[in-house]
Symmetry: C2
Protein backbone atom coordinates (compact mmCIF):
# COMPACT_ATOMS: atom_id res chain seq x y z
CA UNK A 1 0.00 0.00 0.00
CA UNK A 2 1.36 3.44 -0.95
CA UNK A 3 0.77 6.66 0.98
CA UNK A 4 1.71 10.12 -0.28
CA UNK A 5 2.25 13.04 2.11
CA UNK A 6 1.96 16.40 0.36
CA UNK A 7 2.64 18.44 3.50
CA UNK A 8 5.85 18.65 5.43
CA UNK A 9 6.49 16.61 8.55
CA UNK A 10 9.66 16.22 10.61
CA UNK A 11 12.31 13.55 9.96
CA UNK A 12 11.54 11.78 13.22
CA UNK A 13 7.83 11.79 12.38
CA UNK A 14 8.59 10.13 9.02
CA UNK A 15 10.78 7.55 10.73
CA UNK A 16 8.08 6.82 13.26
CA UNK A 17 5.45 6.26 10.58
CA UNK A 18 7.79 3.93 8.69
CA UNK A 19 8.60 2.02 11.88
CA UNK A 20 4.93 1.77 12.91
CA UNK A 21 3.74 0.65 9.47
CA UNK A 22 6.43 -1.59 7.96
CA UNK A 23 4.02 -2.91 5.31
CA UNK A 24 3.30 0.56 3.90
CA UNK A 25 5.36 2.56 1.39
CA UNK A 26 5.43 6.26 2.31
CA UNK A 27 6.43 9.10 -0.03
CA UNK A 28 7.12 12.35 1.80
CA UNK A 29 7.69 15.98 0.83
CA UNK A 30 6.28 15.70 -2.64
CA UNK A 31 4.56 18.45 -4.56
CA UNK A 32 1.44 16.90 -5.97
CA UNK A 33 2.09 18.36 -9.44
CA UNK A 34 5.48 16.69 -9.65
CA UNK A 35 4.31 13.19 -8.75
CA UNK A 36 2.76 10.51 -10.88
CA UNK A 37 -0.17 9.69 -8.66
CA UNK A 38 -1.31 6.33 -10.04
CA UNK A 39 0.23 4.25 -7.28
CA UNK A 40 -1.20 5.99 -4.20
CA UNK A 41 -4.15 4.52 -2.32
CA UNK A 42 -3.95 7.24 0.32
CA UNK A 43 -2.99 10.94 0.10
CA UNK A 44 -2.34 12.99 3.25
CA UNK A 45 -2.84 16.67 2.45
CA UNK A 46 -3.91 20.04 3.83
CA UNK A 47 -6.56 19.82 1.12
CA UNK A 48 -5.63 22.87 -0.90
CA UNK A 49 -3.75 20.86 -3.57
CA UNK A 50 -6.63 18.51 -4.41
CA UNK A 51 -8.20 19.51 -7.74
CA UNK A 52 -10.38 17.54 -10.19
CA UNK A 53 -7.25 17.21 -12.35
CA UNK A 54 -5.41 15.61 -9.41
CA UNK A 55 -8.33 13.25 -8.81
CA UNK A 56 -8.25 12.16 -12.45
CA UNK A 57 -4.55 11.32 -12.19
CA UNK A 58 -4.88 9.54 -8.80
CA UNK A 59 -6.40 6.39 -10.26
CA UNK A 60 -5.75 4.21 -7.17
CA UNK A 61 -6.84 6.82 -4.63
CA UNK A 62 -9.29 5.52 -2.04
CA UNK A 63 -8.77 7.80 0.98
CA UNK A 64 -7.93 11.47 1.37
CA UNK A 65 -6.60 12.28 4.84
CA UNK A 66 -7.10 16.04 5.18
CA UNK A 67 -5.02 17.73 7.91
CA UNK A 68 -7.38 20.64 8.39
CA UNK A 69 -10.74 21.15 10.04
CA UNK A 70 -12.59 22.53 7.01
CA UNK A 71 -12.96 20.78 3.64
CA UNK A 72 -15.22 23.32 1.96
CA UNK A 73 -12.63 24.31 -0.67
CA UNK A 74 -12.16 20.77 -2.00
CA UNK A 75 -13.96 19.39 -5.10
CA UNK A 76 -16.29 17.31 -2.97
CA UNK A 77 -18.75 16.43 -5.74
CA UNK A 78 -15.99 14.85 -7.84
CA UNK A 79 -14.61 13.09 -4.75
CA UNK A 80 -18.05 11.70 -3.90
CA UNK A 81 -18.58 10.53 -7.46
CA UNK A 82 -15.34 8.54 -7.44
CA UNK A 83 -16.25 6.96 -4.08
CA UNK A 84 -13.14 8.35 -2.36
CA UNK A 85 -13.29 8.44 1.42
CA UNK A 86 -12.37 11.73 3.13
CA UNK A 87 -11.35 12.19 6.75
CA UNK A 88 -10.25 15.37 8.44
CA UNK A 89 -8.82 16.42 11.81
CA UNK A 90 -11.99 17.85 13.31
CA UNK A 91 -11.34 18.49 16.98
CA UNK A 92 -7.63 19.19 16.48
CA UNK A 93 -8.13 22.67 17.93
CA UNK A 94 -9.76 21.52 21.12
CA UNK A 95 -6.57 21.05 23.13
CA UNK A 96 -4.91 24.41 22.44
CA UNK A 97 -8.21 26.29 22.65
CA UNK A 98 -9.17 24.74 25.97
CA UNK A 99 -5.67 25.41 27.32
CA UNK A 100 -6.01 29.03 26.15
CA UNK A 101 -9.36 29.44 27.88
CA UNK A 102 -8.03 28.03 31.16
CA UNK A 103 -4.85 30.10 30.85
CA UNK A 104 -6.85 33.34 30.71
CA UNK A 105 -9.29 32.32 33.45
CA UNK A 106 -6.53 31.28 35.88
CA UNK A 107 -4.17 34.11 34.98
CA UNK A 108 -6.84 36.71 35.76
CA UNK A 109 -8.00 34.83 38.87
CA UNK A 110 -4.47 34.69 40.25
CA UNK A 111 -3.82 38.33 39.21
CA UNK A 112 -0.80 37.47 37.05
CA UNK A 113 -1.10 40.64 34.90
CA UNK A 114 -1.08 42.77 38.06
CA UNK A 115 1.95 40.89 39.43
CA UNK A 116 3.77 41.36 36.11
CA UNK A 117 3.35 45.14 36.38
CA UNK A 118 4.59 45.06 39.97
CA UNK A 119 7.66 43.10 38.88
CA UNK A 120 8.54 45.82 36.36
CA UNK A 121 8.54 48.33 39.21
CA UNK A 122 10.46 45.88 41.44
CA UNK A 123 7.54 46.22 43.81
CA UNK A 124 6.97 43.58 46.54
CA UNK A 125 3.30 44.03 47.28
CA UNK A 126 1.32 41.12 48.65
CA UNK A 127 -1.99 42.99 48.77
CA UNK A 128 -3.13 41.72 45.41
CA UNK A 129 -6.72 40.66 44.88
CA UNK A 130 -6.71 36.99 43.96
CA UNK A 131 -9.67 34.65 43.73
CA UNK A 132 -10.25 30.93 43.59
CA UNK A 133 -11.74 29.25 40.55
CA UNK A 134 -13.07 26.29 42.55
CA UNK A 135 -16.72 26.64 43.35
CA UNK A 136 -17.53 29.07 40.58
CA UNK A 137 -19.97 28.65 37.70
CA UNK A 138 -19.20 28.80 33.99
CA UNK A 139 -21.65 29.17 31.14
CA UNK A 140 -20.26 27.72 27.92
CA UNK A 141 -21.80 28.94 24.69
CA UNK A 142 -21.25 26.15 22.19
CA UNK A 143 -20.57 22.92 24.10
CA UNK A 144 -19.24 21.00 21.08
CA UNK A 145 -15.80 19.37 20.84
CA UNK A 146 -13.96 22.52 21.99
CA UNK A 147 -16.59 23.71 24.47
CA UNK A 148 -16.79 20.27 26.07
CA UNK A 149 -13.03 20.10 26.45
CA UNK A 150 -13.18 23.47 28.23
CA UNK A 151 -15.99 22.00 30.36
CA UNK A 152 -13.94 18.91 31.18
CA UNK A 153 -11.03 21.01 32.42
CA UNK A 154 -13.26 23.43 34.32
CA UNK A 155 -14.94 20.50 36.09
CA UNK A 156 -11.49 19.24 37.12
CA UNK A 157 -11.05 22.63 38.82
CA UNK A 158 -14.35 22.19 40.64
CA UNK A 159 -16.36 24.54 38.43
CA UNK A 160 -20.06 24.01 37.72
CA UNK A 161 -20.62 24.02 33.95
CA UNK A 162 -23.74 25.09 32.08
CA UNK A 163 -23.69 24.41 28.36
CA UNK A 164 -25.81 26.54 26.05
CA UNK A 165 -26.71 25.55 22.52
CA UNK A 166 -29.59 26.00 20.10
CA UNK A 167 -31.25 22.65 20.83
CA UNK A 168 -30.64 22.37 24.55
CA UNK A 169 -29.42 18.81 23.88
CA UNK A 170 -27.10 17.34 26.50
CA UNK A 171 -23.38 17.78 25.95
CA UNK A 172 -20.36 16.08 27.57
CA UNK A 173 -18.82 17.62 30.69
CA UNK A 174 -21.76 19.97 31.22
CA UNK A 175 -23.60 19.76 34.52
CA UNK A 176 -26.62 20.87 32.54
CA UNK A 177 -27.42 22.22 29.10
CA UNK A 178 -29.77 25.05 28.27
CA UNK A 179 -31.11 26.57 25.05
CA UNK A 180 -30.16 29.91 23.50
CA UNK A 181 -33.73 30.98 24.31
CA UNK A 182 -33.27 30.60 28.04
CA UNK A 183 -29.83 32.19 28.14
CA UNK A 184 -30.71 35.58 29.62
CA UNK A 185 -32.40 33.91 32.62
CA UNK A 186 -29.33 31.90 33.52
CA UNK A 187 -26.61 34.51 32.91
CA UNK A 188 -26.94 35.94 36.44
CA UNK A 189 -25.48 32.67 37.82
CA UNK A 190 -22.33 32.68 35.74
CA UNK A 191 -18.94 33.85 36.99
CA UNK A 192 -17.51 33.02 33.57
CA UNK A 193 -19.27 33.23 30.20
CA UNK A 194 -17.19 31.73 27.40
CA UNK A 195 -18.19 31.44 23.77
CA UNK A 196 -16.69 29.08 21.20
CA UNK A 197 -19.72 29.39 18.93
CA UNK A 198 -19.26 29.39 15.16
CA UNK A 199 -20.87 32.09 13.05
CA UNK A 200 -24.35 31.03 12.00
CA UNK A 201 -27.67 32.76 11.44
CA UNK A 202 -28.60 31.93 15.03
CA UNK A 203 -25.37 33.00 16.74
CA UNK A 204 -24.88 36.30 14.90
CA UNK A 205 -25.70 39.06 17.36
CA UNK A 206 -26.85 36.50 19.95
CA UNK A 207 -25.47 38.64 22.78
CA UNK A 208 -27.23 42.00 23.10
CA UNK A 209 -27.36 44.75 25.71
CA UNK A 210 -29.83 42.78 27.82
CA UNK A 211 -27.50 39.77 28.00
CA UNK A 212 -24.63 41.85 29.35
CA UNK A 213 -26.96 43.60 31.79
CA UNK A 214 -28.03 40.18 33.06
CA UNK A 215 -24.44 39.09 33.76
CA UNK A 216 -22.76 39.53 37.14
CA UNK A 217 -20.85 42.78 37.53
CA UNK A 218 -17.83 40.62 38.29
CA UNK A 219 -18.38 38.30 35.31
CA UNK A 220 -15.54 37.33 33.01
CA UNK A 221 -16.72 37.23 29.40
CA UNK A 222 -14.54 35.41 26.87
CA UNK A 223 -15.01 35.09 23.12
CA UNK A 224 -12.94 32.50 21.26
CA UNK A 225 -15.64 31.75 18.69
CA UNK A 226 -16.52 34.41 16.16
CA UNK A 227 -16.55 38.18 16.48
CA UNK A 228 -20.08 38.63 15.13
CA UNK A 229 -21.52 37.08 18.30
CA UNK A 230 -21.78 40.61 19.71
CA UNK A 231 -21.52 44.11 18.27
CA UNK A 232 -18.34 45.85 19.39
CA UNK A 233 -20.34 48.91 20.43
CA UNK A 234 -22.44 46.81 22.81
CA UNK A 235 -19.34 45.18 24.28
CA UNK A 236 -17.55 48.51 24.77
CA UNK A 237 -20.56 49.96 26.57
CA UNK A 238 -20.91 46.93 28.86
CA UNK A 239 -17.22 47.15 29.75
CA UNK A 240 -17.20 50.91 30.27
CA UNK A 241 -20.37 50.81 32.37
CA UNK A 242 -19.05 48.00 34.55
CA UNK A 243 -21.92 45.69 33.58
CA UNK A 244 -19.29 42.95 33.52
CA UNK A 245 -15.89 42.66 35.17
CA UNK A 246 -13.52 41.76 32.37
CA UNK A 247 -13.49 40.54 28.78
CA UNK A 248 -10.97 38.32 27.02
CA UNK A 249 -11.40 38.72 23.28
CA UNK A 250 -9.65 36.64 20.66
CA UNK A 251 -12.11 37.33 17.83
CA UNK A 252 -13.64 40.58 16.60
CA UNK A 253 -16.22 41.97 14.21
CA UNK A 254 -13.34 43.29 12.10
CA UNK A 255 -9.97 41.48 12.11
CA UNK A 256 -7.27 42.63 12.55
CA UNK A 257 -8.87 44.76 15.26
CA UNK A 258 -8.52 48.35 13.97
CA UNK A 259 -6.06 50.56 15.87
CA UNK A 260 -8.87 53.03 16.59
CA UNK A 261 -10.97 50.46 18.45
CA UNK A 262 -11.58 51.46 22.05
CA UNK A 263 -11.17 47.81 23.07
CA UNK A 264 -7.37 47.97 22.79
CA UNK A 265 -7.00 50.29 25.73
CA UNK A 266 -9.83 49.51 28.13
CA UNK A 267 -8.27 48.41 31.40
CA UNK A 268 -10.71 45.52 31.81
CA UNK A 269 -10.10 44.00 28.38
CA UNK A 270 -7.53 41.43 27.28
CA UNK A 271 -6.99 41.36 23.52
CA UNK A 272 -5.45 38.47 21.66
CA UNK A 273 -5.08 38.38 17.88
CA UNK A 274 -7.21 35.31 16.97
CA UNK A 275 -4.55 32.86 18.16
CA UNK A 276 -6.48 30.79 20.70
CA UNK A 277 -6.14 27.63 18.58
CA UNK A 278 -2.48 28.09 17.64
CA UNK A 279 -0.14 25.33 18.70
CA UNK A 280 3.36 24.13 18.05
CA UNK A 281 1.97 20.61 17.99
CA UNK A 282 -0.49 20.85 15.11
CA UNK A 283 1.30 18.32 12.88
CA UNK A 284 1.92 15.99 15.81
CA UNK A 285 -1.81 16.00 16.62
CA UNK A 286 -2.77 15.56 12.96
CA UNK A 287 -0.45 12.53 12.75
CA UNK A 288 -2.15 11.06 15.83
CA UNK A 289 -5.49 11.23 13.99
CA UNK A 290 -3.86 9.71 10.88
CA UNK A 291 -2.05 6.92 12.67
CA UNK A 292 -5.19 5.80 14.44
CA UNK A 293 -7.15 5.75 11.19
CA UNK A 294 -4.32 4.14 9.23
CA UNK A 295 -4.26 1.23 11.67
CA UNK A 296 -7.98 0.70 11.06
CA UNK A 297 -7.56 1.03 7.29
CA UNK A 298 -4.76 -1.52 7.24
CA UNK A 299 -7.03 -4.05 8.97
CA UNK A 300 -9.77 -3.38 6.45
CA UNK A 301 -11.82 -1.48 9.02
CA UNK A 302 -13.41 1.47 7.19
CA UNK A 303 -15.09 3.05 10.26
CA UNK A 304 -12.57 5.87 10.32
CA UNK A 305 -12.66 8.65 12.87
CA UNK A 306 -13.67 12.07 11.52
CA UNK A 307 -15.13 10.85 8.26
CA UNK A 308 -16.57 13.55 6.05
CA UNK A 309 -19.92 13.10 4.39
CA UNK A 310 -18.85 14.21 0.91
CA UNK A 311 -22.49 14.83 -0.08
CA UNK A 312 -23.17 17.15 2.85
CA UNK A 313 -19.68 18.63 2.92
CA UNK A 314 -19.02 18.20 6.66
CA UNK B 1 -23.66 21.97 72.89
CA UNK B 2 -22.03 25.41 72.78
CA UNK B 3 -19.52 26.59 70.18
CA UNK B 4 -17.52 29.82 70.41
CA UNK B 5 -16.04 31.48 67.33
CA UNK B 6 -13.22 33.89 68.20
CA UNK B 7 -12.52 34.90 64.59
CA UNK B 8 -14.76 36.86 62.31
CA UNK B 9 -17.02 35.23 59.75
CA UNK B 10 -19.68 36.75 57.50
CA UNK B 11 -23.33 37.11 58.51
CA UNK B 12 -24.45 34.59 55.90
CA UNK B 13 -21.85 32.13 57.14
CA UNK B 14 -23.19 32.47 60.69
CA UNK B 15 -26.74 31.96 59.45
CA UNK B 16 -25.73 28.88 57.50
CA UNK B 17 -24.04 27.31 60.53
CA UNK B 18 -27.09 27.97 62.65
CA UNK B 19 -29.37 26.53 60.00
CA UNK B 20 -27.16 23.46 59.47
CA UNK B 21 -26.80 22.73 63.20
CA UNK B 22 -30.09 23.61 64.91
CA UNK B 23 -29.09 21.68 68.04
CA UNK B 24 -25.97 23.74 68.63
CA UNK B 25 -25.64 27.15 70.30
CA UNK B 26 -23.12 29.36 68.50
CA UNK B 27 -21.50 32.49 69.90
CA UNK B 28 -19.81 34.65 67.27
CA UNK B 29 -17.43 37.63 67.25
CA UNK B 30 -16.31 37.27 70.83
CA UNK B 31 -12.97 38.30 72.20
CA UNK B 32 -11.81 35.42 74.27
CA UNK B 33 -10.83 37.68 77.19
CA UNK B 34 -14.35 39.10 77.39
CA UNK B 35 -16.15 35.78 77.53
CA UNK B 36 -16.81 33.47 80.44
CA UNK B 37 -15.64 30.27 78.81
CA UNK B 38 -17.11 27.64 81.09
CA UNK B 39 -19.99 26.68 78.80
CA UNK B 40 -18.08 26.03 75.55
CA UNK B 41 -17.34 22.48 74.44
CA UNK B 42 -15.81 23.74 71.19
CA UNK B 43 -13.77 26.84 70.37
CA UNK B 44 -13.05 27.86 66.76
CA UNK B 45 -9.97 30.08 66.64
CA UNK B 46 -6.94 31.11 64.62
CA UNK B 47 -5.01 29.72 67.60
CA UNK B 48 -3.22 32.89 68.65
CA UNK B 49 -5.67 33.63 71.52
CA UNK B 50 -5.31 30.24 73.26
CA UNK B 51 -3.17 30.59 76.39
CA UNK B 52 -2.84 28.37 79.48
CA UNK B 53 -4.97 30.93 81.30
CA UNK B 54 -7.71 30.49 78.65
CA UNK B 55 -7.46 26.72 78.99
CA UNK B 56 -7.92 26.97 82.75
CA UNK B 57 -11.08 29.04 82.31
CA UNK B 58 -12.49 26.81 79.54
CA UNK B 59 -13.58 24.06 81.87
CA UNK B 60 -15.94 22.35 79.37
CA UNK B 61 -13.57 22.60 76.39
CA UNK B 62 -13.14 19.35 74.49
CA UNK B 63 -12.20 20.45 70.97
CA UNK B 64 -10.14 23.32 69.56
CA UNK B 65 -10.82 23.94 65.89
CA UNK B 66 -7.83 25.93 64.65
CA UNK B 67 -8.30 27.81 61.36
CA UNK B 68 -4.64 27.83 60.42
CA UNK B 69 -2.17 25.30 59.09
CA UNK B 70 0.42 25.64 61.89
CA UNK B 71 -0.24 25.11 65.61
CA UNK B 72 3.35 25.57 66.86
CA UNK B 73 2.56 28.72 68.83
CA UNK B 74 -0.15 27.10 70.96
CA UNK B 75 0.40 25.70 74.51
CA UNK B 76 0.26 22.12 73.23
CA UNK B 77 1.60 20.50 76.39
CA UNK B 78 -1.21 21.98 78.49
CA UNK B 79 -3.75 21.08 75.81
CA UNK B 80 -2.50 17.48 75.73
CA UNK B 81 -2.61 17.24 79.51
CA UNK B 82 -6.26 18.29 79.58
CA UNK B 83 -7.12 15.78 76.85
CA UNK B 84 -8.42 18.48 74.53
CA UNK B 85 -8.69 17.47 70.86
CA UNK B 86 -7.10 19.83 68.30
CA UNK B 87 -7.87 19.94 64.57
CA UNK B 88 -6.51 22.37 62.03
CA UNK B 89 -7.09 23.22 58.35
CA UNK B 90 -4.06 21.47 56.91
CA UNK B 91 -4.47 21.35 53.13
CA UNK B 92 -6.44 24.62 53.00
CA UNK B 93 -3.76 26.08 50.71
CA UNK B 94 -3.86 23.31 48.16
CA UNK B 95 -6.61 24.80 45.99
CA UNK B 96 -5.18 28.32 45.56
CA UNK B 97 -1.61 27.03 45.25
CA UNK B 98 -2.51 24.47 42.60
CA UNK B 99 -4.52 27.10 40.73
CA UNK B 100 -1.51 29.43 40.90
CA UNK B 101 0.83 26.76 39.53
CA UNK B 102 -1.50 25.98 36.63
CA UNK B 103 -2.07 29.69 35.99
CA UNK B 104 1.65 30.30 35.48
CA UNK B 105 2.21 27.14 33.43
CA UNK B 106 -0.68 27.86 31.07
CA UNK B 107 -0.08 31.60 30.89
CA UNK B 108 3.52 31.08 29.76
CA UNK B 109 2.56 28.22 27.43
CA UNK B 110 -0.10 30.34 25.73
CA UNK B 111 2.25 33.38 25.68
CA UNK B 112 -0.14 35.63 27.61
CA UNK B 113 2.64 37.97 28.85
CA UNK B 114 3.81 38.48 25.24
CA UNK B 115 0.25 39.15 24.10
CA UNK B 116 -0.22 41.66 26.93
CA UNK B 117 2.79 43.65 25.71
CA UNK B 118 1.47 43.55 22.14
CA UNK B 119 -1.88 44.86 23.34
CA UNK B 120 -0.19 47.89 24.92
CA UNK B 121 1.31 48.71 21.52
CA UNK B 122 -2.05 47.97 19.82
CA UNK B 123 -0.12 45.42 17.80
CA UNK B 124 -2.01 42.64 15.99
CA UNK B 125 0.71 40.03 15.57
CA UNK B 126 -0.28 36.38 15.28
CA UNK B 127 3.31 35.10 15.06
CA UNK B 128 3.56 34.36 18.75
CA UNK B 129 5.23 31.20 19.97
CA UNK B 130 2.67 29.14 21.82
CA UNK B 131 2.97 25.58 23.03
CA UNK B 132 0.64 22.84 24.23
CA UNK B 133 0.75 21.53 27.75
CA UNK B 134 -0.75 18.16 26.78
CA UNK B 135 1.87 15.47 26.34
CA UNK B 136 4.52 17.17 28.46
CA UNK B 137 6.19 15.89 31.62
CA UNK B 138 6.23 17.54 35.03
CA UNK B 139 8.48 16.72 37.96
CA UNK B 140 6.87 17.69 41.25
CA UNK B 141 9.20 18.20 44.19
CA UNK B 142 7.09 17.51 47.27
CA UNK B 143 4.03 15.48 46.22
CA UNK B 144 2.10 16.04 49.47
CA UNK B 145 -1.37 17.60 49.71
CA UNK B 146 -0.44 20.60 47.56
CA UNK B 147 1.91 18.77 45.18
CA UNK B 148 -0.67 16.04 44.59
CA UNK B 149 -3.36 18.60 43.83
CA UNK B 150 -1.01 20.13 41.24
CA UNK B 151 -0.46 16.59 39.93
CA UNK B 152 -4.20 15.94 39.73
CA UNK B 153 -4.78 19.05 37.64
CA UNK B 154 -1.73 18.42 35.43
CA UNK B 155 -2.96 14.90 34.72
CA UNK B 156 -6.32 16.34 33.67
CA UNK B 157 -4.35 18.34 31.09
CA UNK B 158 -2.67 15.14 29.84
CA UNK B 159 0.66 15.76 31.57
CA UNK B 160 2.84 12.90 32.85
CA UNK B 161 3.68 13.50 36.50
CA UNK B 162 6.79 12.38 38.37
CA UNK B 163 6.71 12.98 42.11
CA UNK B 164 9.96 13.39 44.00
CA UNK B 165 10.28 13.05 47.76
CA UNK B 166 12.83 11.85 50.28
CA UNK B 167 11.40 8.36 50.67
CA UNK B 168 10.36 7.62 47.11
CA UNK B 169 7.01 6.47 48.55
CA UNK B 170 4.06 6.55 46.16
CA UNK B 171 1.95 9.69 46.13
CA UNK B 172 -1.52 10.42 44.72
CA UNK B 173 -1.80 11.67 41.14
CA UNK B 174 1.82 10.86 40.34
CA UNK B 175 2.50 8.49 37.45
CA UNK B 176 5.60 7.51 39.40
CA UNK B 177 7.52 8.70 42.43
CA UNK B 178 11.30 8.96 42.75
CA UNK B 179 13.67 9.80 45.59
CA UNK B 180 15.68 12.99 46.05
CA UNK B 181 18.75 10.84 45.42
CA UNK B 182 17.74 9.93 41.89
CA UNK B 183 16.56 13.43 40.97
CA UNK B 184 19.43 14.53 38.74
CA UNK B 185 19.01 11.46 36.52
CA UNK B 186 15.35 12.20 35.83
CA UNK B 187 15.51 15.97 35.43
CA UNK B 188 16.34 15.70 31.69
CA UNK B 189 12.82 14.34 31.07
CA UNK B 190 10.96 17.21 32.69
CA UNK B 191 9.39 20.10 30.79
CA UNK B 192 8.22 21.53 34.11
CA UNK B 193 9.98 21.27 37.48
CA UNK B 194 7.82 22.58 40.31
CA UNK B 195 8.71 22.64 43.99
CA UNK B 196 6.29 22.94 46.89
CA UNK B 197 8.82 21.53 49.36
CA UNK B 198 8.97 22.88 52.91
CA UNK B 199 12.28 23.95 54.41
CA UNK B 200 13.96 21.01 56.12
CA UNK B 201 17.54 19.82 56.57
CA UNK B 202 17.13 17.68 53.45
CA UNK B 203 15.53 20.25 51.15
CA UNK B 204 17.84 23.16 51.98
CA UNK B 205 20.12 23.63 48.96
CA UNK B 206 18.69 20.50 47.32
CA UNK B 207 18.99 22.09 43.88
CA UNK B 208 22.60 22.84 42.88
CA UNK B 209 24.37 23.77 39.64
CA UNK B 210 24.34 20.16 38.46
CA UNK B 211 20.55 19.92 38.82
CA UNK B 212 19.99 22.97 36.64
CA UNK B 213 22.53 21.72 34.10
CA UNK B 214 20.59 18.46 33.94
CA UNK B 215 17.32 20.21 33.13
CA UNK B 216 16.08 20.83 29.58
CA UNK B 217 17.16 24.18 28.13
CA UNK B 218 13.45 24.80 27.60
CA UNK B 219 12.48 23.74 31.14
CA UNK B 220 10.13 25.81 33.25
CA UNK B 221 11.28 25.86 36.88
CA UNK B 222 8.81 26.99 39.53
CA UNK B 223 9.33 27.44 43.25
CA UNK B 224 6.27 27.81 45.48
CA UNK B 225 7.84 26.06 48.48
CA UNK B 226 10.69 27.77 50.29
CA UNK B 227 13.44 30.02 48.98
CA UNK B 228 16.30 28.06 50.57
CA UNK B 229 15.75 25.19 48.12
CA UNK B 230 18.32 26.85 45.86
CA UNK B 231 20.86 29.62 46.28
CA UNK B 232 19.88 32.74 44.37
CA UNK B 233 23.36 32.93 42.76
CA UNK B 234 22.93 29.43 41.30
CA UNK B 235 19.49 30.28 39.98
CA UNK B 236 20.65 33.56 38.40
CA UNK B 237 23.53 31.79 36.64
CA UNK B 238 21.27 29.02 35.32
CA UNK B 239 18.84 31.61 33.97
CA UNK B 240 21.52 33.86 32.45
CA UNK B 241 23.33 30.91 30.85
CA UNK B 242 20.12 29.54 29.37
CA UNK B 243 20.45 26.26 31.25
CA UNK B 244 16.70 26.47 31.73
CA UNK B 245 14.02 28.33 29.81
CA UNK B 246 12.10 30.24 32.46
CA UNK B 247 11.62 30.46 36.21
CA UNK B 248 8.52 31.39 38.19
CA UNK B 249 9.55 32.31 41.71
CA UNK B 250 7.16 32.98 44.56
CA UNK B 251 9.66 32.38 47.38
CA UNK B 252 13.22 33.62 47.89
CA UNK B 253 16.26 33.26 50.11
CA UNK B 254 15.52 36.74 51.42
CA UNK B 255 11.96 38.07 51.53
CA UNK B 256 10.93 40.63 50.45
CA UNK B 257 13.24 40.09 47.46
CA UNK B 258 15.76 42.94 47.71
CA UNK B 259 15.51 45.60 45.00
CA UNK B 260 19.13 44.92 44.00
CA UNK B 261 18.42 41.27 43.13
CA UNK B 262 19.13 40.49 39.49
CA UNK B 263 16.07 38.23 39.46
CA UNK B 264 13.69 41.19 39.25
CA UNK B 265 14.78 42.14 35.75
CA UNK B 266 15.82 38.93 34.01
CA UNK B 267 13.56 38.52 30.98
CA UNK B 268 13.04 34.81 31.66
CA UNK B 269 11.92 35.22 35.26
CA UNK B 270 8.45 35.78 36.69
CA UNK B 271 8.49 37.15 40.24
CA UNK B 272 5.57 36.96 42.62
CA UNK B 273 5.70 38.15 46.22
CA UNK B 274 4.97 34.93 48.17
CA UNK B 275 1.28 35.01 47.35
CA UNK B 276 0.73 31.63 45.70
CA UNK B 277 -1.53 30.46 48.52
CA UNK B 278 -3.54 33.65 48.88
CA UNK B 279 -7.25 33.36 48.35
CA UNK B 280 -10.40 35.33 48.90
CA UNK B 281 -12.02 32.11 50.09
CA UNK B 282 -9.90 31.23 53.12
CA UNK B 283 -12.69 31.45 55.69
CA UNK B 284 -15.13 29.69 53.39
CA UNK B 285 -12.67 26.78 53.04
CA UNK B 286 -11.94 26.73 56.77
CA UNK B 287 -15.67 26.52 57.48
CA UNK B 288 -15.95 23.57 55.11
CA UNK B 289 -13.36 21.73 57.21
CA UNK B 290 -15.19 22.72 60.41
CA UNK B 291 -18.65 21.79 59.20
CA UNK B 292 -17.52 18.34 58.12
CA UNK B 293 -15.87 17.73 61.48
CA UNK B 294 -18.74 19.23 63.45
CA UNK B 295 -21.16 16.78 61.81
CA UNK B 296 -18.96 13.92 62.98
CA UNK B 297 -18.60 15.38 66.46
CA UNK B 298 -22.34 15.78 66.81
CA UNK B 299 -22.80 12.08 66.04
CA UNK B 300 -20.17 11.15 68.60
CA UNK B 301 -17.67 10.25 65.88
CA UNK B 302 -14.25 11.46 67.09
CA UNK B 303 -12.30 10.46 63.94
CA UNK B 304 -12.00 14.10 62.88
CA UNK B 305 -10.20 15.19 59.73
CA UNK B 306 -6.88 16.99 60.28
CA UNK B 307 -6.42 15.97 63.90
CA UNK B 308 -3.24 17.25 65.50
CA UNK B 309 -1.08 14.95 67.58
CA UNK B 310 -0.63 17.30 70.53
CA UNK B 311 2.39 15.33 71.74
CA UNK B 312 4.23 15.60 68.41
CA UNK B 313 2.90 19.05 67.58
CA UNK B 314 1.73 18.33 64.00
Amino acid sequence: MNVLFTFKIKDEQMEKLEADFPGIQFSFHKKIDEVSLGEYEIIATYGEDISTEVLDRATSLKWLMVASAGVEKMPLAAIAEKGIVVSNVRGIHKTPMAETALAHILSLGRALPVLAEQQKRKEWNTKVRQSELRGSTALILGPGAIGSEIGRLLQAFGVRTIGCNDSGDEAPFMDETIQFEGLVNRLPEADIVVSVLPSTAKTKGLLKESQFQAMKESALFMNFGRGDLVKETILVEALKNGEIGHAVLDVFEKEPLPAESELWSLSNVTISPHVSSHSGKYIERALEFFTENLKKWQKGDRSLTNLIDTEKGY
